[in-house]
Symmetry: C2
Subunit: 512 residues, 2 copies
Amino acid sequence: MNGAESLARTLLKSGVDTCFANPGTSELHFVSALDAAPGMHCVLTLFEGVATGCADGYGRLADKPAVTLMHCGPGLANGLANLHNARRACAPVVNIVGDQATYHRPLDSNLTADTEGWARPVSAWVRTSSAASGVGFDAAAAVQAARTAPGQIATLILPADTAWGEGGIVAEPQAAPPFPEAAPHTIRQIAQLLRSGEPAMLFLSRMALRARGLEAAYRIAEATGARLMAQQANSRIERGQGRVPIQCLPYAVPDAMAALAGIRHLILVGAQRPVAIFAYPNQPSHLTPPDATTHVLARLDQNPVHALESLADELGAPPAPPPHPGPVPGPASGALQAGAIAQTLAALMPEQTVVVDESVSFGRPFYPGTRFAPPHDWLQNTGSSIGMGLPVATGAAFAAPGRRVIALQADGSALYTVQALWTQAQARLDVTTLLLANRKYAILSSELANVGAQPGPVFQSLTDLRNPDLDWIKIANGMGVEAARACTCEQLADLLRHSLGRKGPFLIELLI
Amino acid sequence: MNGAESLARTLLKSGVDTCFANPGTSELHFVSALDAAPGMHCVLTLFEGVATGCADGYGRLADKPAVTLMHCGPGLANGLANLHNARRACAPVVNIVGDQATYHRPLDSNLTADTEGWARPVSAWVRTSSAASGVGFDAAAAVQAARTAPGQIATLILPADTAWGEGGIVAEPQAAPPFPEAAPHTIRQIAQLLRSGEPAMLFLSRMALRARGLEAAYRIAEATGARLMAQQANSRIERGQGRVPIQCLPYAVPDAMAALAGIRHLILVGAQRPVAIFAYPNQPSHLTPPDATTHVLARLDQNPVHALESLADELGAPPAPPPHPGPVPGPASGALQAGAIAQTLAALMPEQTVVVDESVSFGRPFYPGTRFAPPHDWLQNTGSSIGMGLPVATGAAFAAPGRRVIALQADGSALYTVQALWTQAQARLDVTTLLLANRKYAILSSELANVGAQPGPVFQSLTDLRNPDLDWIKIANGMGVEAARACTCEQLADLLRHSLGRKGPFLIELLI
C-alpha cells in the first residue's frame, strides 16, 4: 500500500467521507487512492477558494471535518481567504495539500513555493509528511486536530513521493480530546455577579448559539434579567419560530456601542471581547462601555453549552419556553427594500432552511427581519473576508441533504468565488441564491465617511460595478445554474416559490 | 499631509503611475489620496488575483512596476498565486496592502491576519509602515526594490493609522542599483569553452529573450555552433518575422531530455538549471545529460544581455541576421487542431501583438506554429500556477496601448480569474481571448500516466468540466465582453478578423 492509499483509508476510518477537491499533478496518487479505497464523496470545485469555503460550510453544518484537496503552495494560497473565515468560524477542516517530492523541492522548480509558510497563519495544526510510512499517522493526527473543540483547521502537506511511496500504514482514528469545561468556581462567581442585579449581558458565539446553548442562556436571562447578545458574525445560529431569539452586535461602531450601552458586566461565552472590525479615527476600538467589566464564563476553548447549563442550574433558573414571536407575516409587495425582502423570505422559507448571509451592508435588516420565520440556521461571514457566501452555501448543501439552502449574496462578494455556481449545478444542490445587485461596493460609501476620507472620482471609479453591468442571469446560466431577475417583491415571491418547489440550484438576481 | 497622500505622491514621483486596485475600508485614505494627488491611472479589478496578474502583465510589458492595492491579509492571500507567477517572471511589482491600524491589530478583530507572513514567500522586499512620517520613504524604498534587476516583488503593508496620520513626507525617488555584470574572466572562460567545439547550448531566460539579447546569442551560435534554447516558461520572448527564432524547453520530461541530448556544456544565461516541474517516479529530476557540465554565464541577478554581447565580442562573432522563416502561410481550414489554430493565428495576428499563452497542454503546438508570424511578444506562465492568462493579458493591454493582446486561454485555468473579463470590458481593452474549451483538466490525463497512477471514476469526476458544460459565451457576455463560438478554422478566422478590426475585448470560444 502506498502512502496515498493509507491516507485515503485513514481518513475514511476516521469518519471523514467528503472531499472538496481541485487536484493537480502532485495529488494524482491520492486521487487514484480514492478510486482504490472507495467511500469518499469527492466533489470537484473549479477554484480552491470554493473548495475551502465548501469545507467551511460543511464543517459548520456537519460538525465534523470535510477534507480539501489542493495543489502545491499557490493552490493553497487561492484557498486561504476562506480558510481565514473558517478559522474564525471554528469550523473543523482538514486540508490536504499535495506538494513537490521531498527530493525535488530543493531544485526549486517553478511550481515550488513556501507551502508551510502560507498554511501556518490559518492552521492550528500543520505537518509535512516525510515518508509514506508516516502518512497514515499524520492523517489521523490531522483529523484529531480538526475535531479538537471548538473546531480547528489542520493542514497536512503531502510531498508527492510520500504519496506514491510504498509502506503506507492505515492508522487508527485518534479521538479528539474532551472539550474542557469551565471551572466550578467560575460558574459560581458569575452566578453571584448575576444575582447582584447589576446590568449584565451574556455575549455569545459559536456552540452557545445552537438551540441548546440558547435555551440555557434564556433560562439565565429570564431568571436574572441579564441580556443576551451574539457576536457580530457567527458560524451558525439556530433561530426562528420556537427558538430563543437573539440579536447580533451591530457592525457600525455607534450602533454597537448603543447596543452595549448601560452594561456593567459583559460575560463572554465562547465569544471574543467586542471590538470594532476596523479602527476609525476618533472612534474607540473597544465597544463596551468604559465602566463595564468583562468576565469570561467560557473561553473559546471551553464548552460554552456546558457552562451555560451549569450556570443556569447554579442559579436555579427554571425552564423558560422561548417567547412566541407572533404569526409569520405574508410576503411583502412593492419595491425591493431590504425589510420587504426579509419579510418575503421569512414568509416563504421552508422549515430547516440553511441561510448563508453574505449580504454585507444592504442586508443588515435581513437577520432581524426573519425572526418570525420557521426554524432555520443562519450562517454569517465570520472572518469578514468576502467571497464566502456561495462556497459556504455549497458546502452546507452537501452536509445537509434534504434541507434548502438560501444564500443572501451581495454581488461584489459573489464574484470572488463565482465558480461555486458550477459545483451547485453539477451536484444539483438545492441552493437558492438571492443575488443582491446594487452594482457597487456599497459598504465602502459608509466606511469612507467612517474613516473621515473624502469621496472623489477615484473613489467613485474604484467602488462602482457598472459600465458594464454584471449580468447575473448570463453568468449563472454560463455556469449551468438557472436564473431569473426580480424587480419587485411580488416577482421575488413568485421566483422563490418556483425555486423552492423544485430540485437543484436557482439564482434570483434582485435589482436593488 | 497624511501618510496616504505622501504615499501617492511618492509613487508618482518615483514613476509609478498605474494602480490595479480592489480596496476595502483600510485602504480608503489611500484611495482618497489618489483623488488629492491626481496622475495615477486607477483600474478596478473585481478579485485580487486579477489585480496581481494585471501587475505581472504590466511589469513584463512596461519594464517598470505598477502598484496593486489590496485589502488586509485575506485580500493579499487572494492575490498570492499570481504574485508567485510574477516572482518567477521577475516582473517588477509594488504591492500596497492596507491593514489594521497599529493600535487595533493586537485586538485581533475578525479581519486580522498574518499579512507579513503571507507576503514574505513571494516578496523580495516586505515592510510594514510604522508611522505616517515614514510612509513616503517606505514607498520610495518599495519602488526601488521592485525596480532592482531583474525585477522583484515589493510589498508595503500600510496600517490604516499610518495612512490617515498627519506628518507625511514625500520622499525622493531612489534609483535602483545598477544591474551587476558578469565578470570578464567568466566571459573569457565561456568563450574558451565554446571555442573548443564541444556540443554546447546557451540556455536563456528573461531579458536574454528580448530581441537584443537574442541577437547577441545568435551571433554566438553562428560563430561557434552552440545551440540556443529558452527555459520552458518565460516572462516575455520577442519573436516572429525578422527576429531570432528560439525553441523553448519542452514540458514533458522525455521531450525535454531529448531536446538536451548530446549537450556537453550547458551555459546558463539568466536561466535556472533545467529541472522537471514535478518529480515523477522513475524519471530524473535533472534534465541535462549526466555527462554534461553546467556553466553560468550570467546569474539571475546579472545582466544577461551585457553578458551575451560581451561574449559575442570576445569571440569576435560578426553580426548575424536572423534566418528568414519563409512566408506566412494563410489561415488554415477545417477542424480546430492545435497546429491549424496556430497557423490561423500566425496568418492574422497584427504586428506587435502581445500573445499571452496559458493554453496548457492543448496549446503546446502554438508556440512553434507561430514562428512565421509578424514580430510579436510571447508571454508564458512562468510559475505554473493557473489563472494567470486573463489577468496578464489585461495588464499587458494597459501597458501597451495601441497593441493588440491575444490570450490563448485554457478553460479550466480561465475560470480561476474570470473576473478579469469585466475589467477588459470596462476599460475597452483591445484583448482577444481564444478560449480553448476542451471541458476538462486535460493535462492531468497525461500527468496521471507520468506519475504511474491509475485512472478510475474518481479521477474522471475530478478532471471533467462537463455536466454542465461551461458556456463561455454567456459567461463573457455576463461580464460585458462580446463573444462568439468557433467550431472550425474558417469560423475562427472570421471571428479573429472581426475582433482584430474593432476596438475592445472579444472572446472566441473554440470547441476543441
